[in-house]
C-alpha cells in the first residue's frame, strides 16, 4: 500500500513539475488575451505633420460651443479644462505682448491658444502645447513643448522646441535655437546659425542667407568632358566599380555607379545619374549630380547641386552654396549626423536621426 502511495505521489510530483510551467500557456490559450495582430500604425505613414494634425483635431474636438473657429473669430477669452484633464486658456490679442503670470514664475501651466498675432516675452516655458491662429513671435530662450502656428512663426535666439513645431506659412528659427523632434512649414523655413535640429521639412529650407550666398556656377571654367569609367556593367546604365573611384576635375560621367570603395568627384564635375559609395564620398566644389547620392560618410563641398535624395549612413557635411533638390524636385537629405553650413538651400526634408547642426562640428 505504501509503495502504491509512494508511486502515486512521485507520479503526481512529476506531473506537477512538467505541468505547472504550462499553466500560464493553457490559461492564455483559453483567455486569448494576446490573440491580436501586431498593431501596425496604418495612419501615421511617417507623415511629418502627424502630431500637428492630431493636435489640431484634439483642439477642434474639445471646442464644441463655442467652436475653436468662433473663439478665434470673435476674440473670446476662455479658460477651462479639456476632457482629458488638460487645462487650457484662449487668449484674445488685445495687446501684442503676452504677459507672464508673474515676473518670477515663467512656466505657463496651461495649453495656450492665441487668437491673434502675438509676441511672447523672453524666457517663458510653455509646458503644454501652443496654438497660434495668426503670427507669433517667441522671445529669446522661449521653451515650448509643441507649437502649431497657423500664420508665421519666429523663434528668437536660443528658443527650444521639445517635441514638434508646425507652421502653416513661414518658420524662422534664430541663432542657437534647438528644434527637437519634427519641425515643418508649409511655405518656407529659415534656419539660423548654430541651430540644432532633428527633422526639418519645408518646400524651401534656407540655412541662414542662402539667397545672398554665391550661387553655384557649374558652367564657369572648362566645361566637363566625358570620362570613361572602368566599371562592370550590372544592368542597363548601372555599373559596379570594385575599388576606389577618383574622378578628375571637370569630369562628366553618365549612368548609375555603385562603387565598393571610396569616391572623390573632382571640381565642377557632372554626374548624369546616381552614385553610391560603400565607404567615404567627397564631392568637390561646383559638382552637379542629377540623381541620388548614397554613401557611408559624405562631404559635399560648396556650390554643389544634387537633385535626388542624399543619404549617408554615418555622417554628412554640406558646405555653403549647395542646393539640394529644387522647386520641381523636392528631395530628402538624411544621415545620423548632419552639419550644414550657413548658405545651403534645401527643398524638401532634412533629417538628422541623431543630431543636426547649422555650422560648427559634429558633437556625438
Amino acid at each position: 500500500m505504501n509503495e502504491l502511495l509512494a508511486s502515486t505521489f512521485l507520479f503526481g510530483i512529476a506531473i506537477l513539475c512538467f505541468g505547472l510551467p504550462l499553466v500560464p500557456t493553457i490559461v492564455e490559450l483559453g483567455k486569448r488575451g494576446a490573440a491580436r495582430p501586431l498593431s501596425v500604425d496604418r495612419t501615421n505613414e511617417g507623415e511629418i505633420r502627424h502630431f500637428a494634425n492630431t493636435f489640431k483635431t484634439l483642439l477642434e474636438s474639445n471646442f464644441r460651443n463655442p467652436t475653436l473657429r468662433e473663439c478665434i473669430d470673435h476674440g473670446i477669452d476662455l479658460k477651462g479644462t479639456f476632457d482629458d484633464g488638460t487645462p487650457y486658456r484662449v487668449i484674445r490679442s488685445t495687446t501684442s505682448m503676452f504677459a507672464a503670470p508673474t515676473p518670477d514664475y515663467r512656466s505657463i501651466p496651461e495649453l495656450i491658444i492665441f487668437s491673434g498675432s502675438i509676441a511672447v516675452p523672453a524666457g517663458l516655458e510653455f509646458v503644454h502645447g501652443v496654438y497660434s491662429a495668426e503670427d507669433i513671435d517667441c522671445g529669446k530662450k522661449t521653451l515650448v513643448r509643441s507649437l502649431y502656428g497657423a500664420g508665421n512663426v519666429r523663434l528668437r535666439e536660443g528658443a527650444v522646441v521639445l517635441r514638434w513645431i508646425h507652421v502653416d506659412n513661414e518658420l524662422v528659427a534664430g541663432a542657437g535655437c534647438q528644434l527637437y523632434g519634427r519641425a515643418s512649414a508649409e511655405a518656407s523655413m529659415r534656419i539660423g546659425p548654430g541651430v540644432e535640429f532633428e527633422r526639418l521639412y519645408a518646400p524651401r529650407i534656407v540655412f541662414e542667407n542662402a539667397e545672398t550666398a554665391a550661387p553655384a556656377n557649374v558652367s564657369a571654367g572648362t566645361p566637363p568632358r566625358l570620362v570613361n569609367v572602368n566599371g562592370t556593367r550590372m544592368a542597363g546604365h548601372c555599373y559596379a566599380i570594385y575599388g576606389d573611384l577618383d574622378l578628375p576635375p571637370n569630369s562628366l560621367i553618365q549612368g548609375d555607379f555603385v562603387v565598393k570603395g571610396a569616391v572623390t568627384i573632382g571640381r565642377n564635375s557632372r554626374v548624369e545619374g546616381s552614385i553610391k559609395s560603400q565607404k567615404r564620398m567627397w564631392i568637390q566644389r561646383g559638382t552637379t549630380i542629377k540623381g541620388s547620392v548614397i554613401s557611408s560618410e559624405l562631404e559635399i563641398e560648396s556650390d554643389c547641386r544634387i537633385r535626388g535624395p542624399v543619404v549617408a549612413s554615418s555622417e554628412m557635411i554640406i558646405h555653403s552654396g549647395c542646393r539640394l533638390g529644387d522647386e520641381m524636385h523636392p528631395t530628402s537629405v538624411t544621415a545620423p549626423y548632419i552639419i550644414v553650413d550657413p548658405g545651403v538651400l534645401a527643398f524638401g526634408s532634412v533629417w538628422a536621426r541623431e543630431r543636426g547642426r547649422v555650422g560648427g562640428l559634429i558633437a556625438r
Binding site: L22, E28, L38, N44, A235, G236, G291, V311, P330, G348
Partner: protein, 418 residues
C-alpha cells in the same frame, strides 16, 4: 574504421548544428543590443519614380478586393502608380472582381488575364513583366493588405543604384483564428523582426520573400528573369541578384498584413513547398556563392546557412542515427558516450535557438504576453521538422527528379481576426 567514420560524421553534424544555433543567438543579440540599420526609411520626400504593382492571383476571389481597395488608398502619386492584377488561370470570380475594379478605375488598374501557359507564380510574374515599362516593380500576394504609406517606403531604397530588391515586414492579421495562426504569428515575428533585420544590420543576405517587396526590373532581367523551374522563385532571384553584385534590402518598418494558413494541412503544404524550393536553390547556388569573390566572407557563410536552412532537420536526424550507432558500436569508449551527449545537448539547447529569436521579437514588438504560447511552439516545430524532412529526404533519394513542379496554392479564408 567504421567507428571512426561514424564519429567523424557525428562531429560534423554537431559542428554545423552548433554553428546554426550560434548564428541564431548572434542575430538575437545583435537585434537587442547592436546598432540598427534603416538607411532608407527617412526618404519621405522625393521625385517618386513610376511604379507597377504586380498581384499574382490564382483563385483569389476571397481576398483580392481588399488588396485592390487598400492599394487604391495608398499615398503614392496616383499618376505614377500602376496596379496590374494578374488573373492567373482562375476558375472562380477573381477575373470578374478584377474587371469590375478596372472598369471603375481605368487609369489606375490594368488587368492581365492569363488564360494559359506554365503554372506557378514565377511564370505569371515573368509574363506580366513583359507588359510593363516601369523600372520599379512591387509584388503583393492577393491576401496582403498594405498600409497607406507602404508603397513609398518600399520604393525609397531604389534611389540607391546598388539595390536590386527590397523586402518589407510581413505581419499576420488573422492571428486570433486558432492556435496555429497564433503560433505562426510568433514564428513570423522571430523571422522578420529579429532574423531578417539582424542580417540587414550586419550587411549579410536579407531575403526577398516574393511578396510585400519590390524589384528593379533591369536587375532581374540582367540575372536571367524569373526562374519558373523552382518552387521558391523569391529565394532563387535573391541569390542570383546577390551573385550579380546587387544588394537585397530589408525594411523592418515597412509592415504589411498577410493571412497565414488556418489549418495544418495548408501549413504543411506551404512549408514543404518552401523546403523544396530552398533545397533546389541550395543545390544551384551554394558553390557559386562560395566562389563569389565580390561578396564578403560573412555574406558567403550566411548565404550558405540561409540556403541550407531546410536541410538542417535531415542533418540533425542523421546526427541522431549516427550517434546511436556510435553508442552501440563504440559504447564502451568515451567517444560513443560523447556522441550521444553531444547530440542530446544540442537537441536540448541548440535546437531552441530560434525560440530565443521569437522571445526577442516579442520584446521588441512590445507584445510580451504572446510569449506565454512559446511552449506550444514545440508542436509547430515538430510538424515542420517532419514535413521538411519528408521532402528533403525525397529530394536526396530522387536527385534526378526534374518533373514539372506542382504549385500547391495556400488556401485563403478572407476572415478577419476573431
Amino acid at each position: 574504421m567504421i567507428a571512426l567514420v561514424i564519429r567523424c560524421g557525428v562531429s560534423v553534424v554537431l559542428v554545423v548544428a552548433t554553428l546554426y544555433a550560434l548564428r541564431h543567438y548572434w542575430f538575437t543579440l545583435n537585434r537587442l543590443f547592436g546598432s540598427q540599420l534603416h538607411p532608407y526609411v527617412d526618404i519621405d520626400t522625393a521625385d517618386w519614380p513610376n511604379v507597377t504593382v504586380l498581384i499574382p492571383a490564382h483563385n483569389e476571389e476571397v481576398v483580392i478586393a481588399q488588396l485592390l481597395n487598400a492599394l487604391l488608398k495608398v499615398n503614392y502619386p496616383v499618376d505614377r502608380l500602376l496596379i496590374l492584377p494578374i488573373n492567373d488561370r482562375s476558375e472562380d470570380r477573381t477575373g470578374e472582381i478584377i474587371n469590375d475594379f478596372a472598369r471603375r478605375f481605368p487609369n489606375r488598374i490594368r488587368p492581365f488575364h492569363r488564360q494559359s501557359g506554365e503554372g506557378g507564380k514565377a511564370a505569371a510574374l515573368r509574363d506580366a513583366m513583359e507588359l510593363i515599362d516601369d523600372e520599379i516593380v512591387l509584388v503583393f500576394d492577393a491576401d496582403y493588405i498594405p498600409g497607406r504609406g507602404l508603397i513609398k517606403q518600399l520604393v525609397a531604397p531604389f534611389f540607391d543604384p546598388g539595390v536590386g530588391a527590397v523586402m518589407g515586414r510581413v505581419v499576420p492579421w488573422n492571428v486570433g483564428r486558432n492556435c496555429l495562426t497564433r503560433l505562426l504569428d510568433l514564428e513570423r515575428a522571430g523571422g522578420y523582426q529579429v532574423d531578417q533585420q539582424a542580417r540587414m544590420n550586419m550587411r549579410l543576405v536579407p531575403q526577398f520573400g516574393g511578396t510585400a517587396g519590390g524589384l528593379r526590373k533591369s536587375a532581374v532581367a540582367a540575372v536571367g528573369g524569373w526562374n519558373t523551374s523552382t518552387l521558391t522563385e523569391d529565394t532563387d532571384v535573391t541569390f542570383r541578384l546577390v551573385l550579380a553584385g546587387w544588394e537585397v534590402v530589408y525594411q523592418n518598418r515597412s509592415e504589411c498584413y498577410e493571412e497565414v494558413p488556418e489549418n495544418w494541412y495548408s501549413r504543411i503544404r506551404q512549408i514543404q513547398r518552401w523546403a523544396t524550393g530552398h533545397n533546389q536553390a541550395l543545390a544551384r547556388y551554394s558553390f557559386p556563392l562560395m566562389k563569389h569573390k565580390n561578396s564578403s566572407f560573412a555574406q558567403r557563410i550566411d548565404g550558405l546557412f540561409l540556403l541550407a536552412v531546410y536541410a538542417m532537420p535531415v542533418l540533425i536526424l542523421a546526427g541522431w542515427l549516427l550517434a546511436l550507432l556510435s553508442f552501440y558500436i563504440d559504447g564502451e569508449s568515451l567517444s560513443g558516450i560523447l556522441s550521444m551527449l553531444g547530440i542530446s545537448a544540442y537537441t536540448s539547447v541548440g535546437n531552441f535557438a530560434p525560440f530565443f529569436e521569437i522571445a526577442a521579437a516579442m520584446h521588441l514588438d512590445r507584445t510580451r504576453r504572446k510569449i506565454l504560447l512559446m511552449p506550444l511552439n514545440i508542436f509547430g516545430f515538430l510538424v515542420s521538422l517532419m514535413a521538411v524532412t519528408q521532402v528533403t529526404v525525397s529530394q536526396i533519394l530522387f536527385p534526378f527528379w526534374r518533373g514539372s513542379f506542382i504549385w500547391h496554392k495556400t488556401e485563403r479564408s478572407g476572415n478577419r481576426a476573431a
